[in-house]
Symmetry: C2
């Protein structure tokens, strides 16, 4: 009988909730990762209107074959109210991007936006602990990266955003998560920096700018850019020309997908520790 | 980047709602049909607990990328309340198995359980109009088949179920839908019958019984069985041995899938007539 082979009545569901939804990449990437692990499971896009979130999402969570939700813009902060327990990153950032149903029926939440960055560095064998980090951009992704990187206990974090409130909040967060890390707020400056991280939108799509002023970079510098399109941003092109090691936004996204799937599956196994 | 190719952020969703859900075939069959038609769409299983139906399903219908629902046991009658308009079959049977979102945001409902049978006969070029039909079994599927077959205006319908209430209801329904059809209620009897239809569970799985007493069948008889497993029921095996033409439960299911997908897609096109 004519049929497809990747879904049936026993398929377990995950969803990504956002508004808009068409641009999200989790359906193809998380589904691939779930199926790579041999699970009969799929992650589907769930387009919930902003005004409907509080009414609709708690009811989605009552579907008996739905085991987890990924949250994206604009719901990451609002979704905190849906979790019965929160991991450390979600507590630190004040937002979550994954909710997993545990075997006892309660829901665990955590934030993986920054952990994907840390995971990408770990996969490359690049240490963050004890290093001097320059992080440019402290919006949704940058704030989560500040928290995740701080948890790795770097020696120094130099952070910068055009919004002074974001600078203050991230500085306080880093101080709380890693009291021994030196925090410095100010315009980008590469003096003594081991790892340069761009979490600003500068360099996205056809933006030809760099997120800081530089003609060349020291070849010892490790350069990371959160931007996924293009994969080789102007900053990463400069880093390649300068002989630097480079970590891409796609590597971060892969790292995040792997960590989210770990989280979703471990919760199903009845883990009591959602982090 | 590692990903699957059958789902992404733009994928439109359909769902089948039931309790239990693991046994349903629509996810792989309807999804195949949607993709065969070139649509970026998927049908997923949605397991809703019986007690949660009235609370959860109206909220599922608020997902902006969900365009339709298929209903299965035990929700076909209860789902009537979710439709803003009903097709003739749903009105006749008092139940529906498909809900489609129209472009104006309202939901059209109809019942395709019997239409799949009619569609399977039509695909084979086998007429029901003017014929003498013996239909055994008037439960959920049988009742819907009685209505759909009556709408084809057969000469005579001989119907039978162990439950006298079902016999009475189906007889009334046939009389309403096709006043010129002669209706007869009583134990199975093949005298003058052109088409024998089994909609009882007799012969399902490892049940070796026939739904009526017969050692052989007239080779002119057309024999149809709603049962999908096994595809060749004891009744259909006897029909083959007797040289009869045979229509299978799988053909009915294929016919029903095609009709449901037509209905779901036509509603999206803004058709004002849900039938």
């Amino acid at each position: 009988m004519d049929q497809v082979d990747y879904i049936n009545g026993k398929t377990r569901l995950y969803g990504i909730v956002g508004d808009p939804i068409a641009q999200v990449r989790s359906p193809e990437m998380v589904t691939h990762e779930l199926q790579r692990r041999g699970l009969n499971a799929i992650l589907v896009p769930l387009h919930v209107a902003r005004a409907d979130f509080a009414r609709v999402v708690p009811h989605l969570m009552q579907l008996l074959n739905l085991d987890g939700l990924v949250m994206t813009i604009p719901f990451k902060a609002q979704a905190l109210s849906l979790a019965h327990s929160l991991g450390l990153q979600a507590q630190a950032v004040g937002a979550l991007n994954a909710l997993a149903r545990r075997r006892d029926g309660t829901w665990a939440g955590d934030m993986f936006d920054g952990m994907g960055c840390v995971q990408a560095f770990a996969r490359r064998g690049l240490a963050l602990r004890g290093k001097s980090i320059l992080l440019i951009g402290l919006g949704g992704a940058g704030g989560a990266i500040a928290a995740a990187v701080a948890s790795e206990q770097p020696l120094r974090m130099h952070i910068w955003d055009l919004d002074p409130d974001r600078c203050r909040q991230s500085a306080e967060l880093i101080a709380r998560l890693s009291p021994d890390t030196q925090v410095h707020v100010g315009p980008p400056n590469l003096d003594g920096v081991d790892v340069l991280m761009n979490a600003s939108p500068v360099g996205m799509l056809d933006d030809a700018r760099l997120p800081l002023v530089a003609d060349a970079l020291a070849p010892e510098l490790v350069v990371f850019d959160t931007i996924v399109y293009p994969e080789q941003t102007p900053l990463l092109q400069l880093a390649h020309r300068s002989g630097c090691q480079v970590v891409t936004g796609r590597e971060m996204m892969q790292g995040q997908i792997a960590r989210i799937v770990d989280f979703l599956i471990d919760a199903q196994k009845g883990s009591t520790n959602p982090v």
